[in-house]
Symmetry: C2
Subunit: 271 residues, 2 copies
């Protein structure tokens, strides 16, 4: 209480997941979550009505690379009992995006007013987990170096449909020096619950990407001579599917504003 609130953001560095979520819940932190609660796994959030939940659950099972499932709540229950039993999916994400009939309708800071007894929340692993492993392995992450959002692209690879859900796989791209490509496969393959190994290495046109300089989401980054574009399945894939599927209501996190779980990054590793 001695220090008056200022316009500058609170300093959350080094706080563990529950403390960071408390700052987000209180509204004191409203920004992106990259770099917060290091060591804790962050997650994509997808909320749909129970009527659509079976199809979405099956969609995740059939497309585990873009949609690696960490937790599914019971209908109407806002607590992810496995991933963060004391959290609340209605308040603990800094910014939500609401889709109605497949169209982005609004971005809001919490969703208490939209909550219903039939809503089911899905938490999907996120690339921050494997990027932390890349940093530990000394591998470059261009979009971090350049202070940008990771570039993401719709591909011509279709997801395996499940009931009402269908759509293209969305991928993120990171430029990797040719000599490091085997290593980046090894390092990221350890985390199948965070998209795992790349889905494509090299020629973007082979997966229907015509211009790396014009991503469909995020921002372009520099591809240097001797570097190979490496592509990972991306958690934005459900947001592309929702545009084709048009469920009555879908609520997600806003890009970069993730749900921070109590799981450790290493809980998402396979060995």
């Amino acid at each position: 209480m001695d220090q008056p609130a200022t316009k500058s953001r609170v300093n959350l560095s080094g706080l563990p997941a529950p403390a960071v979520r408390a700052e987000i819940r209180s509204g004191r932190w409203q920004g992106p979550t990259a770099g917060l609660a290091p060591g804790f796994a962050q997650a994509n959030l997808v909320i749909v009505p129970q009527k659509a939940a079976y199809d979405f659950l099956l969609f995740c099972h059939r497309n585990p690379k873009p949609c690696p499932l960490l937790d599914v709540t019971d209908p109407g229950d806002a607590r992810p009992r496995r991933a963060a039993p004391h959290a609340d999916v209605r308040t603990d994400v800094p910014k939500y995006r609401v889709f109605r009939h497949g169209q982005p309708a609004e971005e809001i800071r919490q969703i208490n007013a939209l909550w219903r007894d039939d809503l089911v929340a899905f938490l999907l692993g996120c690339s921050f987990t494997f990027e932390a492993a890349m940093v530990r392995a000394g591998l470059p992450i261009r979009h971090i170096e350049e202070g940008r959002n990771v570039p993401m692209y719709r591909t011509t690879t279709s997801c395996r449909p499940a009931g009402m859900f269908r759509g293209p796989m969305v991928v993120s791209m990171r430029p990797i020096p040719q000599a490091d490509v085997p290593r980046v496969v090894q390092v990221t393959a350890r985390y199948p619950l965070a998209h795992g190994a790349p889905v494509h290495i090299g020629d973007p046109s082979a997966i229907g990407i015509t211009d790396l300089a014009r991503p469909d989401y995020g921002e372009a980054v520099t591809l240097r001579p001797g570097e190979v574009p490496v592509f990972w399945a991306c958690g934005v894939t459900p947001q592309a599917a929702v545009q084709e599927t048009r469920p009555e209501l879908m609520i997600t996190h806003a890009p970069g504003h993730m749900f921070i779980t109590d799981l450790r990054d290493e809980d998402l590793a396979i060995w």
Copy 2:
């Protein structure tokens, strides 16, 4: 046609999965499937009405060690489009077990007469996949040496419930020489879609098993001096859950009479 059918079983050795399934479908092979179609992944089969399918799908997601999902059919569709697109789950298992309201009702050779437009089939990975890897690694498999069914036990470890489904985890046990225990963890951990690494090593009482000589399913095997009992999550777990859950109808394979997929054992490996 030159060789008249005899009472002895047909010789299927070395045939690939589709040919073995054709023999099963025709009724020429009605026995257990252990050792058939080497290199192809065999699967546990669980069929439930669509009304129970969401709960069972979520049960599998929440309990991936006993219930590693390989494929889920669309309601009324008897073809597992991913695991064996030309197969038919109604005819391609040598023996089925039918549960009504949680009670085993009958064992039958095919289920065409029971098929309905609302039935959903789940294929779950099976220990045969990691046992083949153990053989390749030179590790002993006692129940095969002794010509018995693997011993299986209900434990005091509860599965994470999902809707109507709840129940104890069932485990299989294999005696492993003390010096080989780390190796058997490594070898089986490669196959998370076939139950993966053991869930418990050593003291049976720690997971509620009072007498190794009296398994709940299968047959007891010899535990020799210097050997450690090693326990893996088991695909019989859904059959234990059904007794607590009592869905109107559930159809499974009969023990040891598995569904043979077109997937390779290596498709179930993580690295």
